[in-house]
Amino acid sequence: MVKDVPCMRLVIDENRCKGCNLCVLVCPYKIFREGKKPNRKGIVVPELDRPERCPNCRLRQLYGRTICGLCQLICPDQAIDWIGEEPYEHMKVAIEY
């Protein structure tokens, strides 16, 4: 029944991220993982581990407000945001609360 609700996609803006890994520290879902390779600017941007698990990805549109959002709030470089997207394949995701 969540099918028709559009989802969001979590993205890290590589131009802004400075690789501090604070997102890694705070995400309760462990969606961020320390990255491995430096990019062109020498910065090691975190990797995302199944971002579709993030409740904000799933529910922001539904509730019309930011859910959790810890990573975005703590990210000192405004590198984290959600962009509108086609729904994920819902079936993969168990709603966990």
């Binding site: 400075k18 430096p38 062109r40 600017k41 020498g42």
Partner: protein, 179 residues
């Protein structure tokens, strides 16, 4: 003889320290006339950092680089900003792990960062590997001078490591890093 050396990389690599060591080697141990300068500023945080060293047998008047003939480049951004303009007659030593482009002048590819990380166990000494390579490739200061200047400039307890880094840098040139 006069040389103008331009060093560039990103913040945290120790580019400025390298330029100071180079300057000190020439000034104190080779008894040359030397001026070391660098770019300061908040933009230097994280962004490209740049140091310049002029070494001359004669007194040096104008302190800024006019026509660098030697380059030490440790980041792609540094290359783009400074190295790309290198004149044909210049020599460049570049960290081949970090710099993708190649200049129009003679150059040496030195995998300093990977050597420092993997062989020496400390990525922080990549700049010293580069220095060792630079000195061997250009002879801009004597090898004794760069060793003594390095020893004098690095934190207590890291002397061994840094000497090793210098040595590995030299070897990487001997092994034929010229590109």
């Amino acid at each position: 003889m006069r040389h103008e050396i331009l060093l560039s990389g990103f913040g945290g690599q120790g580019i400025i320290l390298s330029s100071v060591i180079l300057g000190r080697a020439a000034a104190i141990y080779d008894l040359k006339h030397v001026i070391q300068t660098q770019v300061y500023g908040p933009e230097a945080r994280g962004g490209a950092s740049m140091g310049g060293v002029i070494i001359d047998d004669e007194p040096i008047h104008y302190p800024k680089l006019r026509r660098p003939d030697i380059y030490l480049i440790m980041s792609q951004e540094g290359f783009e900003r400074y190295g790309a303009k290198a004149e044909a007659g210049a020599v460049m030593v570049l960290d081949s792990d970090l710099v993708q482009s190649r200049p129009g002048c003679r150059y040496f590819e030195v995998p300093a960062t990977s050597v420092a990380k993997k062989e020496l166990g400390k990525v922080i000494v990549a700049n010293i590997v580069m220095l060792g390579a630079l000195v061997r490739a250009t002879g801009v200061v004597s090898e004794g001078a760069i060793e003594r200047a390095t020893l004098e400039s690095v934190p207590k307890g890291t002397e061994e490591l840094n000497l090793k880094a210098l040595k590995r840098g030299r070897e990487l040139i001997i092994m034929g890093g010229e590109g």
